[in-house]
Protein backbone atom coordinates (compact mmCIF):
# COMPACT_ATOMS: atom_id res chain seq x y z
CA UNK A 1 0.00 0.00 0.00
CA UNK A 2 1.26 3.32 -1.02
CA UNK A 3 1.37 5.98 1.71
CA UNK A 4 0.15 9.51 0.97
CA UNK A 5 2.97 12.00 1.07
CA UNK A 6 3.11 14.73 3.70
CA UNK A 7 2.70 17.35 0.96
CA UNK A 8 -0.55 15.79 -0.21
CA UNK A 9 -2.02 15.91 3.30
CA UNK A 10 -1.11 19.55 3.62
CA UNK A 11 -2.77 20.39 0.29
CA UNK A 12 -5.93 18.58 1.33
CA UNK A 13 -6.02 20.48 4.59
CA UNK A 14 -5.57 23.83 2.88
CA UNK A 15 -8.24 23.03 0.31
CA UNK A 16 -10.67 21.99 3.02
CA UNK A 17 -9.99 25.07 5.09
CA UNK A 18 -10.38 27.35 2.07
CA UNK A 19 -13.62 25.66 1.14
CA UNK A 20 -15.07 25.97 4.63
CA UNK A 21 -13.97 29.54 5.17
CA UNK A 22 -15.30 30.47 1.73
CA UNK A 23 -18.75 29.30 2.68
CA UNK A 24 -18.68 31.31 5.91
CA UNK A 25 -17.82 34.63 4.26
CA UNK A 26 -20.39 34.69 1.52
CA UNK A 27 -20.29 37.51 -1.02
CA UNK A 28 -19.04 40.95 -0.03
CA UNK A 29 -21.85 43.48 0.35
CA UNK A 30 -22.34 45.68 -2.68
CA UNK A 31 -22.84 49.42 -2.33
CA UNK A 32 -25.56 50.53 -4.71
CA UNK A 33 -27.05 53.85 -3.60
CA UNK A 34 -30.24 54.95 -5.29
CA UNK A 35 -30.14 58.40 -6.91
CA UNK A 36 -32.71 60.71 -5.31
CA UNK A 37 -35.05 62.24 -7.87
CA UNK A 38 -35.25 65.81 -6.64
CA UNK A 39 -38.18 67.65 -8.20
CA UNK A 40 -37.43 71.31 -8.89
CA UNK A 41 -40.71 73.26 -8.65
CA UNK A 42 -41.88 75.51 -11.49
CA UNK A 43 -40.11 78.90 -11.63
CA UNK A 44 -37.42 77.69 -9.24
CA UNK A 45 -33.78 77.74 -10.35
CA UNK A 46 -31.69 74.61 -10.67
CA UNK A 47 -30.25 73.53 -7.32
CA UNK A 48 -26.49 73.71 -7.06
CA UNK A 49 -25.74 70.39 -5.37
CA UNK A 50 -22.08 69.73 -4.48
CA UNK A 51 -20.57 67.14 -6.81
CA UNK A 52 -19.09 65.28 -3.85
CA UNK A 53 -22.43 64.95 -2.08
CA UNK A 54 -25.09 63.96 -4.58
CA UNK A 55 -28.52 63.19 -3.20
CA UNK A 56 -29.36 59.53 -2.74
CA UNK A 57 -32.45 57.92 -1.28
CA UNK A 58 -30.30 56.27 1.36
CA UNK A 59 -28.41 59.48 2.15
CA UNK A 60 -31.56 61.55 2.53
CA UNK A 61 -33.16 58.90 4.73
CA UNK A 62 -30.05 58.74 6.90
CA UNK A 63 -29.92 62.53 7.05
CA UNK A 64 -33.48 62.66 8.30
CA UNK A 65 -32.66 60.19 11.08
CA UNK A 66 -29.59 62.21 12.04
CA UNK A 67 -31.46 65.53 11.90
CA UNK A 68 -33.81 64.17 14.55
CA UNK A 69 -31.13 62.19 16.46
CA UNK A 70 -30.91 63.30 20.10
CA UNK A 71 -27.76 61.24 20.60
CA UNK A 72 -25.90 63.99 18.77
CA UNK A 73 -26.20 66.06 21.94
CA UNK A 74 -24.23 65.79 25.16
CA UNK A 75 -27.10 64.43 27.28
CA UNK A 76 -29.09 62.78 24.50
CA UNK A 77 -31.85 65.33 24.86
CA UNK A 78 -31.52 67.56 21.78
CA UNK A 79 -31.55 67.08 18.07
CA UNK A 80 -31.40 69.61 15.23
CA UNK A 81 -35.17 69.43 15.24
CA UNK A 82 -35.33 70.63 18.86
CA UNK A 83 -34.62 74.20 17.71
CA UNK A 84 -36.02 73.84 14.21
CA UNK A 85 -39.60 72.82 14.82
CA UNK A 86 -41.73 71.89 11.81
CA UNK A 87 -44.85 73.76 12.90
CA UNK A 88 -42.98 77.08 13.00
CA UNK A 89 -41.27 76.72 9.64
CA UNK A 90 -38.43 74.65 11.10
CA UNK A 91 -37.39 77.57 13.29
CA UNK A 92 -37.62 78.24 17.02
CA UNK A 93 -40.59 80.14 18.46
CA UNK A 94 -38.35 81.24 21.33
CA UNK A 95 -36.37 84.44 20.85
CA UNK A 96 -33.17 82.55 21.60
CA UNK A 97 -32.74 78.79 21.73
CA UNK A 98 -31.61 77.09 24.94
CA UNK A 99 -28.88 74.48 24.67
CA UNK A 100 -28.36 71.25 26.64
CA UNK A 101 -26.38 73.02 29.35
CA UNK A 102 -29.03 75.67 29.80
CA UNK A 103 -26.91 78.20 27.94
CA UNK A 104 -28.93 80.56 25.82
CA UNK A 105 -27.98 81.57 22.28
CA UNK A 106 -27.60 85.11 21.04
CA UNK A 107 -29.56 84.97 17.78
CA UNK A 108 -32.90 83.59 16.74
CA UNK A 109 -32.73 80.17 15.08
CA UNK A 110 -33.20 80.62 11.33
CA UNK A 111 -35.92 78.81 9.43
CA UNK A 112 -34.81 75.78 7.43
CA UNK A 113 -36.61 76.23 4.16
CA UNK A 114 -35.35 76.05 0.58
CA UNK A 115 -31.76 76.14 1.83
CA UNK A 116 -30.65 74.25 -1.26
CA UNK A 117 -30.69 77.62 -3.00
CA UNK A 118 -28.91 79.59 -0.31
CA UNK A 119 -25.37 80.81 -0.89
CA UNK A 120 -24.39 81.51 2.71
CA UNK A 121 -25.62 80.35 6.08
CA UNK A 122 -26.22 81.78 9.56
CA UNK A 123 -27.37 85.35 10.08
CA UNK A 124 -23.84 86.59 9.46
CA UNK A 125 -23.20 84.29 6.51
CA UNK A 126 -20.10 82.76 8.08
CA UNK A 127 -20.68 79.37 6.49
CA UNK A 128 -20.33 79.13 2.73
CA UNK A 129 -22.05 75.75 2.44
CA UNK A 130 -24.78 73.74 4.07
CA UNK A 131 -22.25 71.09 5.02
CA UNK A 132 -20.11 73.69 6.75
CA UNK A 133 -23.10 75.10 8.60
CA UNK A 134 -24.19 71.71 9.92
CA UNK A 135 -20.81 71.18 11.60
CA UNK A 136 -21.47 74.02 14.00
CA UNK A 137 -24.38 73.16 16.35
CA UNK A 138 -23.28 69.70 17.53
CA UNK A 139 -20.10 70.79 19.37
CA UNK A 140 -21.31 74.34 20.10
CA UNK A 141 -21.29 74.88 23.90
CA UNK A 142 -24.56 76.83 23.75
CA UNK A 143 -26.27 74.22 21.65
CA UNK A 144 -25.74 70.45 21.63
CA UNK A 145 -22.33 70.63 23.32
CA UNK A 146 -20.96 67.32 22.12
CA UNK A 147 -17.48 67.11 20.54
CA UNK A 148 -17.69 65.50 17.13
CA UNK A 149 -15.48 62.50 18.01
CA UNK A 150 -17.86 61.62 20.83
CA UNK A 151 -20.89 62.10 18.62
CA UNK A 152 -19.40 59.85 15.98
CA UNK A 153 -18.47 57.23 18.59
CA UNK A 154 -22.06 57.13 19.84
CA UNK A 155 -23.36 56.49 16.36
CA UNK A 156 -20.66 53.95 15.60
CA UNK A 157 -21.55 51.95 18.71
CA UNK A 158 -25.24 52.05 17.88
CA UNK A 159 -26.86 48.81 18.93
CA UNK A 160 -30.42 49.92 18.40
CA UNK A 161 -32.78 49.24 15.55
CA UNK A 162 -31.52 52.36 13.84
CA UNK A 163 -28.42 50.38 12.73
CA UNK A 164 -26.39 53.47 11.89
CA UNK A 165 -23.25 51.68 10.61
CA UNK A 166 -25.37 49.75 8.11
CA UNK A 167 -27.17 52.90 7.06
CA UNK A 168 -23.90 54.72 6.51
CA UNK A 169 -22.80 51.85 4.33
CA UNK A 170 -26.02 52.08 2.33
CA UNK A 171 -25.56 55.82 1.91
CA UNK A 172 -21.81 56.18 1.52
CA UNK A 173 -20.34 52.70 1.05
CA UNK A 174 -18.62 52.48 4.42
CA UNK A 175 -19.59 51.48 7.93
CA UNK A 176 -16.89 53.79 9.30
CA UNK A 177 -18.87 56.78 10.50
CA UNK A 178 -17.20 60.19 10.43
CA UNK A 179 -18.10 63.81 11.08
CA UNK A 180 -17.90 64.49 7.35
CA UNK A 181 -20.39 61.76 6.51
CA UNK A 182 -22.81 62.85 9.23
CA UNK A 183 -22.93 66.43 7.95
CA UNK A 184 -23.16 65.23 4.35
CA UNK A 185 -26.19 63.09 5.17
CA UNK A 186 -27.96 65.88 7.06
CA UNK A 187 -27.18 68.30 4.22
CA UNK A 188 -28.78 65.88 1.77
CA UNK A 189 -31.91 65.77 3.87
CA UNK A 190 -32.08 69.56 4.30
CA UNK A 191 -31.75 70.04 0.52
CA UNK A 192 -34.97 68.08 0.09
CA UNK A 193 -36.85 70.49 2.39
CA UNK A 194 -38.46 72.45 -0.41
CA UNK A 195 -41.44 74.74 0.02
CA UNK A 196 -43.33 75.47 -3.20
CA UNK A 197 -46.98 75.01 -2.41
CA UNK A 198 -48.10 78.28 -0.87
CA UNK A 199 -51.12 80.12 -2.17
CA UNK A 200 -48.76 82.47 -3.96
CA UNK A 201 -47.08 79.50 -5.70
CA UNK A 202 -50.44 78.17 -6.78
CA UNK A 203 -51.42 81.63 -8.07
CA UNK A 204 -48.12 81.91 -9.91
CA UNK A 205 -48.84 78.53 -11.53
CA UNK A 206 -52.32 79.73 -12.51
CA UNK A 207 -54.10 77.32 -10.19
CA UNK A 208 -55.91 79.82 -7.98
CA UNK A 209 -56.72 83.50 -7.58
CA UNK A 210 -55.53 86.01 -5.03
CA UNK A 211 -58.12 88.10 -3.24
CA UNK A 212 -58.20 91.81 -4.03
CA UNK A 213 -56.44 92.54 -0.76
CA UNK A 214 -53.74 89.93 -1.38
CA UNK A 215 -53.12 91.17 -4.91
CA UNK A 216 -53.04 94.75 -3.76
CA UNK A 217 -50.52 93.71 -1.10
CA UNK A 218 -48.40 92.04 -3.78
CA UNK A 219 -48.36 95.28 -5.74
CA UNK A 220 -47.40 97.11 -2.54
CA UNK A 221 -44.58 94.61 -2.13
CA UNK A 222 -43.28 95.50 -5.59
CA UNK A 223 -43.65 99.28 -5.42
CA UNK A 224 -41.05 101.79 -4.30
CA UNK A 225 -41.51 103.16 -0.82
CA UNK A 226 -42.09 106.65 0.38
CA UNK A 227 -44.29 109.64 -0.04
CA UNK A 228 -43.38 111.15 -3.42
CA UNK A 229 -43.53 114.56 -1.77
CA UNK A 230 -40.69 113.48 0.50
CA UNK A 231 -38.90 110.77 -1.47
CA UNK A 232 -38.21 111.43 -5.16
CA UNK A 233 -39.95 108.65 -7.01
CA UNK A 234 -41.72 107.36 -3.94
CA UNK A 235 -44.76 105.28 -4.82
CA UNK A 236 -46.27 104.73 -1.37
CA UNK A 237 -45.15 101.13 -1.73
CA UNK A 238 -43.71 98.65 0.71
CA UNK A 239 -40.28 98.63 -0.97
CA UNK A 240 -39.93 94.97 0.04
CA UNK A 241 -38.77 93.57 -3.28
CA UNK A 242 -35.31 95.13 -3.20
CA UNK A 243 -34.12 92.77 -0.51
CA UNK A 244 -36.79 90.07 -0.63
CA UNK A 245 -36.63 89.71 -4.40
CA UNK A 246 -38.81 87.12 -6.07
CA UNK A 247 -36.09 85.85 -8.43
CA UNK A 248 -36.50 82.11 -8.50
CA UNK A 249 -39.43 82.64 -6.11
CA UNK A 250 -37.07 82.63 -3.15
CA UNK A 251 -38.00 86.05 -1.71
CA UNK A 252 -34.47 86.90 -0.65
CA UNK A 253 -31.56 88.58 -2.39
CA UNK A 254 -29.12 86.37 -0.43
CA UNK A 255 -27.25 89.53 0.56
CA UNK A 256 -26.65 91.35 3.84
CA UNK A 257 -28.35 94.54 4.94
CA UNK A 258 -28.72 96.81 7.92
CA UNK A 259 -32.44 97.36 8.14
CA UNK A 260 -32.24 100.07 10.76
CA UNK A 261 -32.79 98.16 13.99
CA UNK A 262 -30.13 99.79 16.17
CA UNK A 263 -28.04 102.97 16.28
CA UNK A 264 -24.85 101.03 17.10
CA UNK A 265 -23.66 97.46 16.98
CA UNK A 266 -21.81 96.60 20.17
CA UNK A 267 -24.34 93.90 21.01
CA UNK A 268 -23.96 92.15 17.67
CA UNK A 269 -21.75 93.37 14.84
CA UNK A 270 -23.41 90.98 12.40
CA UNK A 271 -21.64 90.45 9.09
CA UNK A 272 -18.68 92.55 10.28
CA UNK A 273 -17.71 89.75 12.65
CA UNK A 274 -16.99 87.67 9.54
CA UNK A 275 -15.48 90.23 7.18
CA UNK A 276 -13.89 92.60 9.68
CA UNK A 277 -15.15 95.53 7.62
CA UNK A 278 -16.84 98.38 9.49
CA UNK A 279 -19.07 98.78 6.46
CA UNK A 280 -20.60 95.41 7.37
CA UNK A 281 -21.44 96.38 10.94
CA UNK A 282 -25.05 95.67 11.75
CA UNK A 283 -25.65 93.86 8.47
CA UNK A 284 -27.47 90.53 8.53
CA UNK A 285 -28.50 88.04 5.91
CA UNK A 286 -31.87 88.65 4.27
CA UNK A 287 -34.15 85.77 5.31
CA UNK A 288 -36.69 84.39 2.91
CA UNK A 289 -40.28 85.53 3.34
CA UNK A 290 -41.59 82.06 2.60
CA UNK A 291 -43.73 80.92 5.52
CA UNK A 292 -42.94 84.18 7.24
CA UNK A 293 -46.31 84.12 8.99
CA UNK A 294 -45.22 80.91 10.74
CA UNK A 295 -41.68 82.04 11.55
CA UNK A 296 -42.12 84.40 14.51
CA UNK A 297 -40.27 85.90 16.25
CA UNK A 298 -38.56 88.12 13.68
CA UNK A 299 -35.15 89.68 13.00
CA UNK A 300 -31.77 88.20 13.92
CA UNK A 301 -32.47 88.77 17.60
CA UNK A 302 -36.13 87.83 17.51
CA UNK A 303 -37.16 91.22 18.84
CA UNK A 304 -40.49 91.40 17.03
CA UNK A 305 -43.22 88.95 17.96
CA UNK A 306 -45.67 89.69 15.17
CA UNK A 307 -45.68 90.51 11.49
CA UNK A 308 -47.59 93.67 12.33
CA UNK A 309 -44.60 94.87 14.39
CA UNK A 310 -42.28 94.08 11.49
CA UNK A 311 -44.35 96.05 9.00
CA UNK A 312 -44.56 98.91 11.46
CA UNK A 313 -40.76 98.89 11.81
CA UNK A 314 -40.29 99.33 8.07
CA UNK A 315 -43.11 101.84 7.98
CA UNK A 316 -41.24 103.94 10.53
CA UNK A 317 -38.04 103.98 8.48
CA UNK A 318 -35.91 102.46 11.21
CA UNK A 319 -33.12 103.92 13.33
CA UNK A 320 -30.25 105.91 11.85
CA UNK A 321 -26.75 104.44 12.04
CA UNK A 322 -23.48 104.49 10.14
CA UNK A 323 -24.46 101.58 7.90
CA UNK A 324 -28.24 101.78 7.61
CA UNK A 325 -29.34 100.63 4.19
CA UNK A 326 -30.25 103.34 1.68
CA UNK A 327 -33.54 101.52 1.14
CA UNK A 328 -34.69 102.42 4.63
CA UNK A 329 -36.58 105.69 4.52
CA UNK A 330 -35.51 106.86 7.96
CA UNK A 331 -34.75 110.43 6.91
CA UNK A 332 -37.96 110.92 5.02
CA UNK A 333 -40.68 109.67 7.26
CA UNK A 334 -40.62 105.99 6.46
CA UNK A 335 -43.00 104.28 4.09
CA UNK A 336 -46.05 106.32 5.11
CA UNK A 337 -48.39 103.38 4.61
CA UNK A 338 -52.06 103.80 5.39
CA UNK A 339 -53.68 101.19 7.68
CA UNK A 340 -55.46 99.58 4.74
CA UNK A 341 -52.17 99.33 2.84
CA UNK A 342 -50.52 97.64 5.79
CA UNK A 343 -53.43 95.22 5.95
CA UNK A 344 -53.03 94.43 2.26
CA UNK A 345 -49.31 93.88 2.67
CA UNK A 346 -49.95 91.50 5.54
CA UNK A 347 -52.56 89.68 3.47
CA UNK A 348 -49.97 89.16 0.74
CA UNK A 349 -47.36 87.92 3.22
CA UNK A 350 -49.86 85.32 4.41
CA UNK A 351 -50.14 83.98 0.85
CA UNK A 352 -46.55 82.78 1.28
CA UNK A 353 -47.66 80.31 3.96
CA UNK A 354 -47.10 76.71 2.92
CA UNK A 355 -48.65 74.29 5.39
CA UNK A 356 -48.02 71.38 3.04
CA UNK A 357 -44.33 71.99 3.60
CA UNK A 358 -44.40 72.14 7.39
CA UNK A 359 -46.68 69.10 7.60
CA UNK A 360 -44.83 67.04 5.03
CA UNK A 361 -44.42 63.57 6.61
CA UNK A 362 -41.03 63.21 4.93
CA UNK A 363 -39.60 65.91 7.15
CA UNK A 364 -41.01 64.84 10.52
CA UNK A 365 -39.26 62.97 13.34
CA UNK A 366 -38.87 59.32 12.27
CA UNK A 367 -37.62 58.03 15.63
Amino acid sequence: MKRRSHTTWVLWAVALGWSLSGCDCGEAPVWEPTPYALEIPPFFPPMDIPADNPLTVEGVELGRLLFWETRLSEDNSMSCGSCHLPEVNFADPAQYSTGVTGAVGTRNAMALINLGWASSFFWDGRSPSLEDQIRDPVPHPSEMNLPWPEAVAKLQADGTDTRYPERFFDAFGTTEISEDLVVMAIAQFVRTMISADSKFDRWRRGETDLTDSEYSGYQMFLREGGDPEEVPGGQFGGDCFHCHGEAGLQFTDHLFHNNGLDPSFEADPGRASVTGSPLDSGLFRTPTLRNVALSAPYMHDGRFQTLEEVVEHYNSGGVASSTIDPFMKYTTGGLSLAPSQKADLLAFLHTLTDTVFVQNPAFQDPH
Binding site: G248, P326, F327
Partner: protein
Protein backbone atom coordinates in the same frame (compact mmCIF):
# COMPACT_ATOMS: atom_id res chain seq x y z
CA UNK B 1 6.49 47.03 -52.18
CA UNK B 2 6.88 50.64 -51.16
CA UNK B 3 7.11 53.74 -53.24
CA UNK B 4 8.75 55.81 -50.53
CA UNK B 5 12.43 55.92 -49.91
CA UNK B 6 13.61 57.10 -46.45
CA UNK B 7 14.76 60.40 -47.99
CA UNK B 8 11.45 60.92 -49.70
CA UNK B 9 9.51 60.27 -46.44
CA UNK B 10 11.59 62.77 -44.49
CA UNK B 11 11.04 65.40 -47.12
CA UNK B 12 7.31 64.72 -47.10
CA UNK B 13 7.11 65.12 -43.31
CA UNK B 14 9.09 68.34 -43.42
CA UNK B 15 6.88 69.75 -46.14
CA UNK B 16 3.75 68.82 -44.20
CA UNK B 17 5.10 70.47 -41.05
CA UNK B 18 5.92 73.61 -42.99
CA UNK B 19 2.47 73.69 -44.53
CA UNK B 20 0.81 73.10 -41.16
CA UNK B 21 2.88 75.83 -39.59
CA UNK B 22 2.12 78.29 -42.33
CA UNK B 23 -1.63 77.67 -42.19
CA UNK B 24 -1.93 77.26 -38.38
CA UNK B 25 -3.51 80.66 -37.84
CA UNK B 26 -5.52 80.59 -41.01
CA UNK B 27 -8.08 78.22 -39.57
CA UNK B 28 -10.88 79.33 -37.26
CA UNK B 29 -9.51 79.81 -33.78
CA UNK B 30 -10.24 81.71 -30.59
CA UNK B 31 -8.15 84.23 -28.71
CA UNK B 32 -9.07 85.39 -25.22
CA UNK B 33 -8.83 89.01 -24.17
CA UNK B 34 -9.10 90.00 -20.54
CA UNK B 35 -10.76 93.35 -19.88
CA UNK B 36 -9.73 94.55 -16.42
CA UNK B 37 -11.93 97.17 -14.80
CA UNK B 38 -10.63 99.32 -11.97
CA UNK B 39 -12.24 102.16 -10.06
CA UNK B 40 -10.83 105.61 -9.33
CA UNK B 41 -12.07 108.68 -7.53
CA UNK B 42 -11.32 111.90 -9.34
CA UNK B 43 -8.31 110.38 -11.05
CA UNK B 44 -6.86 108.76 -7.94
CA UNK B 45 -6.83 105.05 -7.06
CA UNK B 46 -9.85 104.18 -4.96
CA UNK B 47 -11.22 101.24 -3.02
CA UNK B 48 -14.91 100.60 -2.51
CA UNK B 49 -15.72 101.42 1.11
CA UNK B 50 -13.45 104.45 1.14
CA UNK B 51 -14.67 108.01 0.94
CA UNK B 52 -13.68 110.78 -1.43
CA UNK B 53 -14.48 114.45 -1.49
CA UNK B 54 -17.27 115.57 -3.73
CA UNK B 55 -17.44 118.89 -5.54
CA UNK B 56 -18.73 120.63 -2.42
CA UNK B 57 -15.99 119.19 -0.26
CA UNK B 58 -18.22 116.68 1.50
CA UNK B 59 -16.98 113.17 2.16
CA UNK B 60 -18.84 110.69 -0.02
CA UNK B 61 -18.44 107.08 1.06
CA UNK B 62 -19.00 104.67 -1.81
CA UNK B 63 -20.15 101.31 -0.46
CA UNK B 64 -21.29 99.36 -3.47
CA UNK B 65 -20.50 99.69 -7.15
CA UNK B 66 -21.57 96.88 -9.42
CA UNK B 67 -22.56 96.76 -13.04
CA UNK B 68 -23.42 94.54 -15.97
CA UNK B 69 -21.40 95.00 -19.14
CA UNK B 70 -22.24 93.30 -22.42
CA UNK B 71 -22.34 93.54 -26.20
CA UNK B 72 -18.58 93.93 -26.47
CA UNK B 73 -16.79 94.63 -29.71
CA UNK B 74 -13.12 95.03 -30.53
CA UNK B 75 -12.00 97.25 -33.39
CA UNK B 76 -9.78 95.43 -35.87
CA UNK B 77 -7.69 97.88 -37.85
CA UNK B 78 -8.50 96.01 -41.07
CA UNK B 79 -11.92 94.44 -40.49
CA UNK B 80 -13.59 97.06 -38.34
CA UNK B 81 -15.74 96.17 -35.33
CA UNK B 82 -15.83 92.50 -34.32
CA UNK B 83 -18.82 91.72 -32.11
CA UNK B 84 -18.29 89.48 -29.11
CA UNK B 85 -21.23 87.91 -27.32
CA UNK B 86 -20.43 88.36 -23.63
CA UNK B 87 -22.28 89.44 -20.52
CA UNK B 88 -20.25 90.00 -17.38
CA UNK B 89 -21.05 91.25 -13.91
CA UNK B 90 -18.48 93.65 -12.52
CA UNK B 91 -18.13 94.03 -8.77
CA UNK B 92 -15.70 96.85 -8.14
CA UNK B 93 -15.20 95.81 -4.55
CA UNK B 94 -13.22 92.84 -5.89
CA UNK B 95 -9.58 93.22 -6.80
CA UNK B 96 -9.89 91.45 -10.13
CA UNK B 97 -13.12 92.78 -11.59
CA UNK B 98 -12.97 91.79 -15.23
CA UNK B 99 -14.67 90.44 -18.32
CA UNK B 100 -13.27 87.78 -20.64
CA UNK B 101 -13.77 88.19 -24.37
CA UNK B 102 -13.44 85.26 -26.74
CA UNK B 103 -12.44 86.54 -30.15
CA UNK B 104 -13.06 84.12 -32.98
CA UNK B 105 -11.43 84.39 -36.37
CA UNK B 106 -8.33 83.51 -38.33
CA UNK B 107 -4.83 84.87 -38.02
CA UNK B 108 -3.39 87.62 -35.86
CA UNK B 109 -5.23 90.88 -35.47
CA UNK B 110 -4.35 94.47 -34.86
CA UNK B 111 -6.80 95.94 -32.33
CA UNK B 112 -7.17 99.66 -31.73
CA UNK B 113 -10.43 100.07 -29.86
CA UNK B 114 -13.06 98.53 -27.62
CA UNK B 115 -16.81 99.01 -27.41
CA UNK B 116 -18.83 97.91 -24.42
CA UNK B 117 -22.51 97.93 -23.59
CA UNK B 118 -23.38 99.24 -20.15
CA UNK B 119 -26.24 97.05 -19.03
CA UNK B 120 -28.02 93.91 -20.17
CA UNK B 121 -29.17 93.72 -23.80
CA UNK B 122 -32.91 94.05 -24.28
CA UNK B 123 -33.39 90.50 -25.51
CA UNK B 124 -31.86 89.13 -22.32
CA UNK B 125 -33.43 91.57 -19.92
CA UNK B 126 -37.15 91.71 -19.26
CA UNK B 127 -39.32 88.64 -18.95
CA UNK B 128 -36.21 86.57 -18.40
CA UNK B 129 -36.19 84.75 -15.09
CA UNK B 130 -32.67 84.15 -13.72
CA UNK B 131 -34.03 80.77 -12.63
CA UNK B 132 -34.27 79.79 -16.28
CA UNK B 133 -30.48 79.56 -16.65
CA UNK B 134 -29.25 75.99 -16.29
CA UNK B 135 -26.05 77.29 -14.74
CA UNK B 136 -27.01 79.22 -11.59
CA UNK B 137 -23.58 80.88 -11.58
CA UNK B 138 -24.02 82.45 -15.02
CA UNK B 139 -23.84 86.24 -14.57
CA UNK B 140 -27.53 86.39 -15.43
CA UNK B 141 -28.37 83.17 -13.57
CA UNK B 142 -30.01 82.81 -10.19
CA UNK B 143 -26.85 82.96 -8.11
CA UNK B 144 -24.83 85.02 -10.54
CA UNK B 145 -27.39 87.80 -10.52
CA UNK B 146 -28.07 87.86 -6.75
CA UNK B 147 -28.77 91.44 -5.79
CA UNK B 148 -28.82 92.55 -9.43
CA UNK B 149 -32.33 91.56 -10.44
CA UNK B 150 -35.61 93.31 -9.72
CA UNK B 151 -38.01 90.55 -10.69
CA UNK B 152 -38.97 88.63 -13.77
CA UNK B 153 -41.18 91.42 -15.08
CA UNK B 154 -38.81 94.29 -14.32
CA UNK B 155 -35.54 92.77 -15.43
CA UNK B 156 -31.95 93.15 -14.32
CA UNK B 157 -30.34 96.05 -12.50
CA UNK B 158 -27.73 97.37 -14.91
CA UNK B 159 -25.72 99.31 -12.36
CA UNK B 160 -25.71 99.84 -8.62
CA UNK B 161 -24.01 102.87 -7.08
CA UNK B 162 -24.65 103.10 -3.34
CA UNK B 163 -23.14 104.92 -0.44
CA UNK B 164 -23.65 107.89 1.82
CA UNK B 165 -22.48 111.42 2.42
CA UNK B 166 -20.69 111.36 5.75
CA UNK B 167 -22.52 114.39 7.04
CA UNK B 168 -24.43 114.58 10.32
CA UNK B 169 -26.76 112.81 9.96
CA UNK B 170 -25.36 110.84 7.08
CA UNK B 171 -27.22 110.97 3.77
CA UNK B 172 -27.53 107.60 2.02
CA UNK B 173 -27.72 107.58 -1.76
CA UNK B 174 -28.63 104.79 -4.16
CA UNK B 175 -28.64 104.98 -7.94
CA UNK B 176 -29.99 101.79 -9.44
CA UNK B 177 -30.46 101.80 -13.16
CA UNK B 178 -32.08 99.29 -15.45
CA UNK B 179 -34.65 99.27 -18.23
CA UNK B 180 -33.75 99.40 -21.92
CA UNK B 181 -33.82 103.21 -21.91
CA UNK B 182 -30.87 103.19 -19.51
CA UNK B 183 -28.68 100.98 -21.71
CA UNK B 184 -25.62 102.89 -22.87
CA UNK B 185 -22.60 102.08 -24.99
CA UNK B 186 -19.08 103.29 -24.43
CA UNK B 187 -16.50 103.32 -27.21
CA UNK B 188 -12.83 103.80 -26.40
CA UNK B 189 -9.97 103.93 -28.91
CA UNK B 190 -6.34 103.13 -28.08
CA UNK B 191 -3.47 105.51 -28.68
CA UNK B 192 -1.79 102.81 -30.75
CA UNK B 193 -2.96 99.46 -32.13
CA UNK B 194 -2.21 96.33 -30.10
CA UNK B 195 -1.39 92.91 -31.48
CA UNK B 196 -3.90 90.18 -30.72
CA UNK B 197 -2.13 86.99 -31.66
CA UNK B 198 -4.00 83.99 -32.90
CA UNK B 199 -5.10 81.73 -30.02
CA UNK B 200 -3.38 83.97 -27.49
CA UNK B 201 -4.68 84.53 -23.96
CA UNK B 202 -2.35 87.23 -22.75
CA UNK B 203 -3.80 90.44 -24.17
CA UNK B 204 -5.23 92.59 -21.40
CA UNK B 205 -7.18 95.81 -21.80
CA UNK B 206 -7.30 97.95 -18.69
CA UNK B 207 -10.33 100.16 -18.24
CA UNK B 208 -11.02 102.65 -15.49
CA UNK B 209 -14.32 103.85 -14.11
CA UNK B 210 -14.01 107.15 -12.28
CA UNK B 211 -16.65 106.99 -9.55
CA UNK B 212 -16.35 110.73 -8.93
CA UNK B 213 -17.34 111.39 -12.52
CA UNK B 214 -20.44 109.26 -12.02
CA UNK B 215 -21.77 112.22 -10.02
CA UNK B 216 -19.83 115.08 -11.57
CA UNK B 217 -19.78 115.64 -15.31
CA UNK B 218 -19.14 118.49 -17.69
CA UNK B 219 -22.78 119.33 -18.11
CA UNK B 220 -24.41 117.88 -15.00
CA UNK B 221 -23.78 117.31 -11.32
CA UNK B 222 -25.87 115.02 -9.12
CA UNK B 223 -26.03 116.19 -5.52
CA UNK B 224 -26.94 113.20 -3.33
CA UNK B 225 -28.51 115.51 -0.80
CA UNK B 226 -31.00 116.78 -3.36
CA UNK B 227 -31.29 113.64 -5.48
CA UNK B 228 -30.52 110.70 -3.21
CA UNK B 229 -32.25 107.85 -4.92
CA UNK B 230 -33.45 106.31 -8.11
CA UNK B 231 -34.49 102.79 -8.93
CA UNK B 232 -35.22 103.85 -12.50
CA UNK B 233 -38.91 103.04 -12.51
CA UNK B 234 -39.63 105.43 -9.71
CA UNK B 235 -37.37 108.26 -10.90
CA UNK B 236 -36.46 107.81 -14.54
CA UNK B 237 -35.12 111.35 -15.11
CA UNK B 238 -32.51 110.89 -12.37
CA UNK B 239 -31.64 107.40 -13.66
CA UNK B 240 -31.03 108.84 -17.13
CA UNK B 241 -28.87 111.62 -15.72
CA UNK B 242 -26.85 109.07 -13.80
CA UNK B 243 -26.28 106.68 -16.72
CA UNK B 244 -25.15 109.57 -18.93
CA UNK B 245 -22.55 110.56 -16.34
CA UNK B 246 -21.62 106.91 -15.85
CA UNK B 247 -21.11 106.48 -19.58
CA UNK B 248 -18.67 109.39 -19.65
CA UNK B 249 -16.79 108.13 -16.59
CA UNK B 250 -15.10 105.25 -18.43
CA UNK B 251 -11.62 105.53 -19.92
CA UNK B 252 -8.69 103.39 -20.95
CA UNK B 253 -5.95 103.20 -18.32
CA UNK B 254 -2.88 105.10 -19.44
Amino acid sequence: MTFYTPHFSAALIAASALLLSATGCQRESTATVRVNCAVEWNGEPFTIGESGLDMQGREAQLERLEAYVSDFALHDVEEGWIDIDTVARLDFSLADSHALLEVKGTGDRSIDGIRMGLGVPADRNKDVDPASYDNPDHPLGFKGSAGMHWGWAAGYIFSVYEGRLLTEPNVPFAYHTGNDTCFRTVELMFDAPRLLECESTDLEINLVLDAYQCLHGDGDVIDPELDPETHTGNNLPLALRWVDLYQSAWSIAP
